[in-house]
Symmetry: D2
Subunit: 490 residues, 4 copies
Amino acid sequence: MIKGDDYKQRIAKLKPNVHMGGKKIDRFDSRLIGGMNVLAASYDLAFDPEFEGVGVATSHLTGEKINRFTNIHRSVEDLLNKQKMTRLYCQEVGGCILRCTAADLTNGLSIVTSEADAKYGTNYYERFNNFLRKVQQEDLSIAAAQTDVKGERTLRPAQQKDPDLYLRVVEKKADGIVVNGAKAHNTASVHSDEIMVIPTRNMMADERDWAVAFSLPSDWEGVKLINVAFHPPQRRVLKAPYTQYGMVHTITVFDHVFVPWERVFLCGETELAGKLALLFALFHRHSYTGCKAAFSEVLTGATALAAECNGIDKASHVRHKLAEMMQIIDLIYASGIAAAMNANKYPCGTYAPDTNYCNAGRMLAGEHIYGEYQALAAIAGGLAATLPGEDEFLSEETGPYLQKYLMRNPKIPAETQYRAFRLFQDMMASAYGGHKLIDALHGGGSPVIERVAIYRDYNIEHSKNIARKLAGIPFEGTTKKIDRLSNAVL
Amino acid sequence: MIKGDDYKQRIAKLKPNVHMGGKKIDRFDSRLIGGMNVLAASYDLAFDPEFEGVGVATSHLTGEKINRFTNIHRSVEDLLNKQKMTRLYCQEVGGCILRCTAADLTNGLSIVTSEADAKYGTNYYERFNNFLRKVQQEDLSIAAAQTDVKGERTLRPAQQKDPDLYLRVVEKKADGIVVNGAKAHNTASVHSDEIMVIPTRNMMADERDWAVAFSLPSDWEGVKLINVAFHPPQRRVLKAPYTQYGMVHTITVFDHVFVPWERVFLCGETELAGKLALLFALFHRHSYTGCKAAFSEVLTGATALAAECNGIDKASHVRHKLAEMMQIIDLIYASGIAAAMNANKYPCGTYAPDTNYCNAGRMLAGEHIYGEYQALAAIAGGLAATLPGEDEFLSEETGPYLQKYLMRNPKIPAETQYRAFRLFQDMMASAYGGHKLIDALHGGGSPVIERVAIYRDYNIEHSKNIARKLAGIPFEGTTKKIDRLSNAVL
Amino acid sequence: MIKGDDYKQRIAKLKPNVHMGGKKIDRFDSRLIGGMNVLAASYDLAFDPEFEGVGVATSHLTGEKINRFTNIHRSVEDLLNKQKMTRLYCQEVGGCILRCTAADLTNGLSIVTSEADAKYGTNYYERFNNFLRKVQQEDLSIAAAQTDVKGERTLRPAQQKDPDLYLRVVEKKADGIVVNGAKAHNTASVHSDEIMVIPTRNMMADERDWAVAFSLPSDWEGVKLINVAFHPPQRRVLKAPYTQYGMVHTITVFDHVFVPWERVFLCGETELAGKLALLFALFHRHSYTGCKAAFSEVLTGATALAAECNGIDKASHVRHKLAEMMQIIDLIYASGIAAAMNANKYPCGTYAPDTNYCNAGRMLAGEHIYGEYQALAAIAGGLAATLPGEDEFLSEETGPYLQKYLMRNPKIPAETQYRAFRLFQDMMASAYGGHKLIDALHGGGSPVIERVAIYRDYNIEHSKNIARKLAGIPFEGTTKKIDRLSNAVL
Amino acid sequence: MIKGDDYKQRIAKLKPNVHMGGKKIDRFDSRLIGGMNVLAASYDLAFDPEFEGVGVATSHLTGEKINRFTNIHRSVEDLLNKQKMTRLYCQEVGGCILRCTAADLTNGLSIVTSEADAKYGTNYYERFNNFLRKVQQEDLSIAAAQTDVKGERTLRPAQQKDPDLYLRVVEKKADGIVVNGAKAHNTASVHSDEIMVIPTRNMMADERDWAVAFSLPSDWEGVKLINVAFHPPQRRVLKAPYTQYGMVHTITVFDHVFVPWERVFLCGETELAGKLALLFALFHRHSYTGCKAAFSEVLTGATALAAECNGIDKASHVRHKLAEMMQIIDLIYASGIAAAMNANKYPCGTYAPDTNYCNAGRMLAGEHIYGEYQALAAIAGGLAATLPGEDEFLSEETGPYLQKYLMRNPKIPAETQYRAFRLFQDMMASAYGGHKLIDALHGGGSPVIERVAIYRDYNIEHSKNIARKLAGIPFEGTTKKIDRLSNAVL
């Protein structure tokens, strides 16, 4: 386990391959620093005594203390603690903690590599465990590069005019493979030690070249990070934690990149490509039941603070709206608890949460986020948009006017009220805030995808049998046994 | 533990005090039999080997096997099993199992009676345990009589012109008390062995007469059950389980009724009246996370069956709608799991589920039920309303026309399709079905009540502190500790 | 123009062909009388001086005063008046006025028959006008028989195994045609003078036999009305207008029925079949902007009455809910006004309302009706379900208890409160009420159908051009002209 | 009537009083130019032959052609044309046209000044008409300064500790009055010729000082514009109309400002203060039925364009979502048509739209805007957030990668797809886009305000009477007459 400063020093050594504003920029460029601060927090918070028992786990490989983001879940309790850690940390940084992908990817790989070995006699699992040992010992951060750019949506990978529209193996060598393609929507890739590539979907028998998974240092030869950056507007004087953090995303180009075999974890096993894609999504959606609960809690707290500033915190329509937000927080978090309680234990010993509960919670989170912003905007009022900048609040000429005319709740100092509305404006009427809405809708899988998954995974015949039985229509099987109601592992 | 037939024989011995259609009617009147069949099922299902480990518990008083509806929850597992039993049984009868009140009332009383003793030196807890021992040994059913008729809603009990508008003690005697008043919306009171009365709300210091709890046999002297009954339309030929069940409700009048001391469990301890009211609501809402999940599952199964009959089960808008219904089921059930996992253990040893998770789930269930009916109606189509009766389907003159013209999915026999749409019509276009919507909205507490409770019980200052911290506004306390995220009892 | 009693006497002369309960029943059977009372009202209200200028129109054929239900719309004002009449009459009977189909069908036929003549040299329009003259002079009611039973939904009429699953011409004779098939969901057919058959959908070139429209007296040889009836529970003592009305629906079987040529209005002109289907739907949905507004007004009034009885009419959440209901009423009605203001005048002189505005309003109405019932149930509370029957309220033994314990708002007499809650129970917890929900969802076209129609009829390229222009993307055409914004006919 | 360039030259002559970034800035500062471009468009579009008959009106004072934004509505057709113009112009600039306040304020004043004269013998109406003549002849733009900063929300103006928290008259002189205070959320004040002040709410008899209305040139002595500016990110190469426009808002401070009597239109007539506030809101909400329909059309067009780029425009869930957006457009616009059709003609000859229809439409618009953004984000996908900047698209090193990997629909050139997603990012993930959401929620009155207004203005007793009549409960009055159903002025 290392600290945030150690992490930053390591990142400082990476070779420049981040493209932005038409040039290669330094990883410590001011536009990128917000994301790096978040990742640094993921290291420091593990040492915080207030989070004891949450942020630190014990490696099943070495028995040593490790940052929980590098842990393989070996029990229901591990899953519950990962969810809890994710929520608590996200509340600290006011948004995404950026590092859950490390755990979500490695847990998925632990299952799929061991299954590949069992099925095909490969030795992926040992190779993966060697890699994982290094991740745990060096406390590495890992960015996910899953979503292919996908070209024409109605065509499969092998049908695209340009075969690179899904990342693929273009050459196999004695010491490794050469891949070509690009992955989109890669969050925090510029601040991460490693970038891990996995398939975006299931693959057919003739799509072996596209069934590939591997991990590379983020500054590896041929890897190009074409970046876009978001962060709240910076402040000159009235500084606040919220504005220290940010998010960046890349289209990550792999231009004929060589990957040594010891970093390859799937290569041509088409039957397992889709499984790996789904398992990462599953672990990631379980993480979302933590982070989205936190994000909703931040919005709820902000909305309550707005009500207090406006002196309307006793109005019944305000309390009703806040109660709805609290309900959403609890339902999202509850779905993650239920998913953990109904976890499946795989032969390799890894615990994976229940799929439907994860999807139900993630779908709820995705569909409600616009409504939560609407609640904050509704209760904060127009000032969240029309608040003048801090220069106006601080200038000799206009400052006294704003001190006088921004006063609402007489129990709260003017500067506190100004700081509160500045937070609301930053959260909503900034590029960062606007982009967060889209991120919160799509990140980890859009609601429409969860909807499809929920239908697919539900035992609809069982439900129909219940109706058939009540209607006096013959049916096969029993209506009485239902999985996913109890916790087999309690 | 007894069987359904034993239960019915016991009910047959009750003295007639059920008023309906302008007269006293027999408890085996055809209008009432549906509810009795449900309660009988609650006895029989406990013996069903498919429900092993679910329906039977071990008494903490006697160590004997008891029907779980009479059990005091002594662990998280007890709470999870109660929730599970409730869901599974409700799926069998296609609606409310009618008996959860027995467990919900007694669990609430176990806490409040022991607290009263600790606080006031009373001996309610022993008295209650004696009563409970009898309930467990004789396997008694208990109907809840909580909701007072309440008169003018804006006035408190002591302020009403007519003091009886909240049930109250009108006389204290050496051997017991005399009560007067009425309780509304009492479900299944006519089929239950006992009727248990508890306060409907908190009481002020000057409202001692209204702070009263007791239990009486349902045919006790002076108890009058003014009844309304609902059941699906009965069938002559095409019989089905759904139509065997029903629900009845009474306004239960207590006309100067004497209650012996050994049946009195609260009498004047105003500070505990509200607590008992809330605890019953809490246990009951936790039960709802089971029964409402079941009710939604019945609706989902019916909707899927309708889609199959109509041959539209592959249409994407149909699958999306079904996925939404499945999501609701899982979120409701998940909230009950999370509530159990965050249970509080009281000094007497009783485990009570977390309040907010219960309220979040119950509120979701209440607010979505109309939408679920809408989904069934939308996918079933107009025939759910316009289906002719079974006489038309079976008659020589019109039967052949209906056999010909009701055919939709050619893979499903005409009679099966008829039976399916008959179920849909019974579920929606019947007095029973219409009343179920209202019942599912209000039973166990209306969404507006849960909304108020969620706001009241949430730690809103903690949420605000998270926002304050991010905004750079001073605050007191920590943002880092949050209860209700982990399971202290795992 | 005739009065309700004249109408009833005419109906009394119809030959018995209504099948219910396994036998042929009289049209004055108590189960059917509710619907007949509604139709009678459609005659009487036209004579009511309070509705002057609304219910009476002037025939463009004869210049005589006619009941507006038999009028062809010759101006925007006609459309506005028809909408207004529909709303006002529906408010009087507390639901569907049952007779709008007469106007909606004949207006559609006026356009299609004249277009057929122009295109094919037929003489349908004259034939239709002769029929219409009779309808106007004799003041006939006409039930619509549009929806075919449709068999397997994914197959077209000509592809069904059983060709009769869409009603079709099986023989052409010198003096007429012979048709076979059945139409479903035919409302008020048993009380109507005429039953008019039109196609349910567009027809392909090889589906000539299914492209047929005609009208027949409702007791015509070979027409069989297989009936289902709904009405509120009848009262013994506490009578009320609401319970006098009802609705019945038939599957109408045409078993090799002969139709004389003078009653045939389309026969084989496949290109016009879909147009007729859509035009009837269009006029009917415009009528819905009147009747659904009325139905929502009834629900809003009932909800406000419930709030008053419960003494919560000043609570802000109650007023917010009522405001939402009022908003829906106004939006539905506004869409009908806008549709009239953007009417198209056809060459024959008939005015048809704008399609998209009608669909927008009808879709809104359909999707919100469950929410309106939910609002009524939420504000009325559980008593809407659990209210005992009038026998209990009136009996000597239980009446005094109910008089005492049902008292809520002390300013309102007990009987008034009882009557109010009886209305709520009848509206929601009765077979009639439950069936009304389904009827209000699907009648005149389900929301999903309007959704499809809205997309189909919208000029999406124009919308995209607006976006393209703003994005600096080349496009063809102008962004500046938009139809349907102004009233060309003002 | 003047052109946009003439307008800009006039604005260039204004004295500097715009405060931003801690200093006084020029009105042609690049951060402000977007808003000025919009206002210039409001002048130029009136000369566009494609908008003939829409943008130009005839002055009832002079008979001359005037820009419709300076017109007093003298007929239903005027109201319909104003609504139409607003929609068409807003579609051209992709957002608010910024100038409707001119018409909305002057129409309100025409009514209130004439009523004041009738009631108090003042001569405001003549004074107002003199002012209006100048506005029409010089084609002036007028910004609204209505919303007071309001201090403690639960206190009335006269109760605030600081009496300036509502703008007020502090001195009356022979030649005019002196006012002190500030108005918040003043849009486009920095680009407007005039700033017009009206009350924000009703006033009590003891609040004469706060019942004041007047208009001043926007650079008048003592007027300070404390500004915040929003505009889409500017482009270096791939320029687009959308990015030329913007919005700015000020807190407008009136520091002991002198207003000559000829510019004072209300001063102490407390009974008319609330009426003026409501009338402006009314006309403004009617304008919103035009502009919000346009804004929704822009979002709908963008969403359809996104679907086309992504190749999913035939997916049924995409079409359903687009149909919902189309429905909202039509319902909003329909409510404005209905409001115009039910206009009230005031004694002075001004036509005001119906209140409830306006509120119903505005409330719908306000409550749905977040959902429309969500639809665009859902269908555009994550790329709307993660799209790299134009520098990356155009650079030699990364451009070819983006040209290759951003390709989706192979029928659409890469640059077009890039431009489309750039529009989506600018609309959503920019400070401008985020602020537009808040603006669209609150501008013209928040939904919660319309909700209150709808309830207040509805004839709820009439609705209750309908329910009472159906229930057999006595009532006073008739159920048969309903205003607002017909168009008295057709």
